[in-house]
């Protein structure tokens, strides 16, 4: 497809989500709220060490692993199901444009919007880190960059999975409910059932957590943080494979449904 058309389509999808006031407000609240709460809580607990490297770690973990992903799910599910919910998918199909192209435009649009919000929340986290540093040491530029990349990576992966899943279900409420329940309840519970053994490595949150810059050993094989503090050991290759697996499977399912369904 012509790159100019692809860009226009992506821009149109971006517009559709950006103009949904409810989604945007909630995504911003969910991305920014935890950052503010982290520093508020730490300030009340001990004003001398509210910020600094510890405040940075807590706030970036909130953005990247706990509540930021909910904002990513909000945006991803909206991008995946917005045309069908509004009943305009058929109007896009009757243009003659390939259905896969219509599906493909949703992914970068959702990512762009998701990252815009996450980067904004991350900048607030940095502001808090330095403003409330007190006597605490502050993160160096390398850790600041790693934190940003990790926040974008984590929320980006979840956002893409959400686009695919919402395109598969064609129902935003259903996709939203299932993914939030999975992220906040099912996934942490499964990660905590040690009797499940190594299959727990297939959990997306565990694989993403492997790349956290706040681990004591992120060179491979060591312990890592996931959203709820569970530590699982896996190699970098396994983590990459699991993350790619989730992305590929859900994008493929979403694309298949978009291509084959009656519009």
């Amino acid at each position: 497809m012509n790159p100019a058309i692809a860009m226009r389509m992506m821009g149109a999808d971006f517009l559709k989500i950006r103009k949904k006031l409810g989604t945007m407000i909630w995504a911003l609240v969910l991305a920014l709220g935890p950052v503010v709460l982290v520093f508020l809580f730490r300030e009340l607990h001990n004003s001398a060490t509210a910020g600094g490297i510890e405040g940075y770690e807590d706030s970036v973990t909130a953005v990247a692993l706990i509540i930021g992903p909910i904002a990513a799910i909000l945006i991803g599910t909206d991008a995946g199901a917005i045309d069908n919910s509004a009943g305009v998918f058929r109007d896009l199909v009757v243009t003659g444009r390939d259905r896969l192209a219509i599906f493909a435009a949703r992914v970068p649009a959702a990512l762009a919007l998701c990252w815009l919000i996450i980067v904004f929340a991350y900048l607030v986290a940095i502001l808090g880190t330095f403003a409330f540093a007190g006597t605490n040491p502050t993160p160096d530029s390398s850790l600041l960059l790693e934190g940003l990349v990790f926040s974008m990576f984590s929320t980006g992966v979840i956002c893409v999975v959400a686009v695919g899943f919402a395109s598969l279900t064609n129902s935003r409420p259903a996709a939203l409910t299932v993914l939030i329940m999975w992220h906040l309840i099912a996934s942490p519970i499964l990660a905590n059932i040690s009797s499940l053994g190594s299959p727990r490595k297939l959990l997306l949150s565990q694989a993403i957590g492997h790349f956290s810059p706040f681990s004591s050993d992120n060179g491979g094989g060591g312990g890592h943080h996931d959203a709820h503090g569970v530590v699982l050991t896996m190699s970098g290759g396994t983590a990459v494979a699991v993350v790619l697996g989730w992305i590929v499977v859900f994008l493929a399912l979403g694309a298949w449904r978009t291509r084959t369904m009656d519009a």
Partner: protein, 322 residues
């Protein structure tokens, strides 16, 4: 060998669509000429929307072939739909976007050249001043008009409109009808209108097909359809001596059929309508006073009810067998 006609906007052969056990379209052979308003007439549930959805590739056909603007569908679907604008069922939009933004969304999918058509399309349907309002604030009539504007983004050679006057008030219907006629007469576009409103099709369209239970019952020019497909000229004759006049008429070579009716004597001419003057002269020469000689105008509604009720009657034994 390619047997398609370049004169046809839509051409289907044996088009069949099944939903499980139910056959929604049953071997449809449809020919829609270019440059006319073509009505696709049928009662609710007859298969009107299904054929539109199949033509547009919204749902796959179970059997048969289709051509849209000369291109086989689905093989050349993208080329076929490049110059097609369609409203399927009611026009739907992103309610949280403005009218103009909704057009931008579709223009982005159609291609960069389409953006230049947004403002003219809005102006054409009279929505320029409301284009910055969110669609959720639009009336049904305004949404219909915005739907037409969305179709115009394709600079369409063929417009496919599914029940386009649903929800419009009489003034809106009249306005819509004028717009359709202008598109056909002044711009040479083909407009395919599905409707269950006989009056609407009769007033707007040049030709039509009547569909019922997934089958085309008849198709042709509106006047031909109303007459039953043949050159059948009927008169109502008012006379001072009906008994004698009926005898004369039955015996006349100019008359194919004559019988008494409430309004006078109903006569089916053997030839063309001008022979009515000769018939008048015959009666007068025979000393019968002629008080009325009026051609009978058949409405599409009569024809529609006749063919659909005939289908009902034909189906009864099958249903009983089942």
């Amino acid at each position: 060998m390619d047997s398609s006609s370049p004169q046809l906007a839509i051409e289907t052969a044996g088009l069949t669509k099944r939903f499980g056990e139910r056959t929604a379209l049953d071997g449809i052979d449809l020919q829609v000429p270019r440059g006319c308003a073509f009505g696709f007439l049928g009662p609710n549930g007859a298969g009107k929307t299904t054929i539109i959805r199949t033509l547009l590739g919204l749902t796959p056909a179970s059997a048969g072939t289709m051509r849209v603007l000369g291109h086989p569908v689905p093989a050349e679907r993208a080329q076929a739909l490049e110059r097609v604008g369609a409203i399927v069922e009611e026009p739907r939009f992103h309610m949280h976007l403005t009218g103009r933004e909704n057009l931008r969304v579709v223009a982005a999918v159609r291609g960069p050249e389409t953006f230049a058509r947004i403002e003219p399309a809005l102006a054409r349907v009279g929505l320029s001043e409301r284009a910055e309002n969110k669609v959720k604030s639009y009336s049904m009539g305004m949404r219909q008009r915005l739907g037409v504007a969305r179709c115009l983004l394709a600079d369409p050679l063929l417009l496919i409109l599914d029940e386009p006057t649903n929800g419009l008030d009489p003034a809106g219907i009249q306005e819509f009808r004028e717009m359709i006629r202008a598109m056909v007469e002044h711009e040479g576009r083909t407009v395919f209108i599905s409707s269950h409103l006989l009056d609407e099709v009769e007033k707007t369209c040049d030709a039509a097909a009547i569909v019922d239970r997934g089958k085309i019952v008849t198709q042709g020019a509106i006047a031909e359809l109303a007459e039953g497909g043949g050159a059948r000229h009927e008169l109502v004759v008012g006379v001072d001596d009906p008994e004698r006049a009926l005898g004369l008429l039955v015996a006349s070579a100019l008359v194919a059929e004559a019988h008494r009716a409430d309004e006078g004597i109903r006569v089916v001419l053997a030839g063309e309508l001008p022979s009515a003057a000769q018939l008048n002269a015959e009666l007068v020469r025979a000393g019968v006073g002629v008080t009325r000689l009026e051609p009978v105008r058949h409405s599409l509604e009569q024809r529609f009810l006749a063919v659909t009720s005939r289908l009902d009657a034909e189906l009864v034994p099958e249903e009983l067998k089942a």
